[in-house]
């Protein structure tokens, strides 16, 4: 099967990345369970190693990460799971967290009110795909102010969301 970048990694590279991830994951679990003095720092280093590995996977495999944020966490997780089934590296959250590099944000517009200026600025910089139950001009205007890359009305079909993610990725 192809990847978003149109090229597949060699089986050797994919296998090596796979084995490296499994080994680091086992080490992480060992340290998490040990919970003794000094493991905190080792765990932090290991998390950094895993995040570097992730960057390699993004480059080698054409991985696309998506964060789905909705005040209805159940719906956010259903959406993220649907995206995972389609090969996206998708997570869900009830509130906005710090985004990873190149992570696509799917954001429920109802959460836009009451954000502090720093979070709002990060939200705008992410050029989110906005989803909303409202279709009034005020909501559209708010989405525009947030520099949304797309505006989808709930209930959102997965294929429409995938198309919006592709547009967002293509826009860079």
């Amino acid at each position: 099967m192809g990847s978003a970048t149109g090229s597949s990694p060699s089986p050797e590279l994919a296998s090596a990345l796979h084995r490296l991830r499994s080994t680091l994951a086992r080490l992480k679990a060992e340290l998490e369970l040990a919970q003794s003095e000094g493991t905190e720092r080792a765990l932090a280093d290991l998390d950094e190693a895993l995040s570097l590995l992730r960057a390699v996977e993004v480059a080698a495999l054409g991985l696309v990460s998506v964060l789905v944020v909705d005040d209805d966490e159940r719906l956010a997780e259903l959406t993220a799971r649907g995206l995972r089934r389609l090969g996206y590296d998708a997570e869900s959250a009830g509130t906005l967290r710090e985004l990873r590099p190149n992570e696509v944000l799917v954001f429920d517009l109802s959460l836009a009110s009451g954000l502090d200026p720093r979070t709002r600025s990060a939200l705008t910089a992410a050029r989110p795909i906005v989803v909303t139950g409202a279709t009034d001009p005020g909501s559209r205007a708010l989405a525009e102010r947030l520099e949304a890359s797309d505006y989808l009305v709930k209930p959102v079909e997965l294929e429409d969301l995938v198309a919006a993610i592709s547009r967002r990725m293509a826009a860079g």
Binding site: H18, R21, S22, R26, G62, L63, L75
Partner: protein, 225 residues
């Protein structure tokens, strides 16, 4: 009651580590170290959820999933695949087409792992509460529904779909959500099943106005007098 989980991994240390993380979160956890061992344990004592390593020497996850399904269209409990392999959009995600609920990439934060386990268990738990809207009463746990004094003849999935729609009256529920929550899939091939279920519900209620089709999107429950 504590949920009972089965962790399957051919690498015993990895299996035990995953099991211990889950035990510390309050679950009862058994370990199997091969696909064959997993199937035997399920036969003896079915778990509430299985965490299944994708790559095992005796059987890969799709084989285990096919055996668990054994001809049915759905496995009786959620299965989450654990894999070290990452995917790109458009890739065939490991095991999903064979009936797995979800997958988790190894090394994912413990909190995320626990959240996905909790989510899969919650989605799969029988809904104990009875949904009642006017004269309509749906008891999913007992597989029964009635309109006034009249019992409705509905198969399991149409009943579940009716309960889901009736629990959110007036709200459009998308086909994707119905497929995910009632059928446990999001494959386009199942969309016909949703239409058939809607048809069966309308026929049972003897009034099509209860279930409104929102073209291209999904269905809306509209309570009738």
């Amino acid at each position: 009651m504590t949920a009972k989980l089965l962790v399957v991994d051919d690498e015993p240390r990895t299996a035990e580590l995953t099991a211990e993380l889950l035990r510390r979160a309050g679950y009862t956890v058994e370990v199997a170290i091969s696909g064959t061992d997993a199937l035997e344990r399920v036969r003896l004592n079915s778990p509430d959820l299985m965490l299944l390593d994708y790559e095992m020497p005796d059987m890969e996850a799709p084989e285990v999933l096919d055996s668990l399904r054994s001809g049915a269209d759905r496995i009786a409990f959620p299965v989450i695949i654990l894999t070290g392999a990452r995917h790109a959009p458009g890739d065939q995600v490991v095991g999903i087409e064979h009936g797995a609920t979800d997958y988790i990439v190894k090394g994912t934060d413990r909190q995320v792992l626990l959240a996905r386990v909790r989510g899969a268990l919650r989605e799969h738990a029988p809904d104990a509460k009875v949904t009642a809207v006017g004269q309509l009463r749906i008891d999913l746990a007992h597989g029964q529904a009635s309109l006034g004094e009249r019992a409705l003849k509905l198969e399991r999935r149409p009943l579940h779909m009716l309960q889901l729609l009736a629990s959110r009256p007036g709200e459009v529920v998308g086909r994707a959500e119905l497929l995910e929550r009632v059928w446990g899939t999001n494959y386009a091939g199942f969309e016909h099943s949703v239409e058939q279920a809607a048809h069966q519900i309308r026929r049972a209620l003897k009034n099509p106005a209860w279930i409104e089709t929102v073209r291209g999107i999904g269905y809306r429950f509209v309570a009738q007098p």
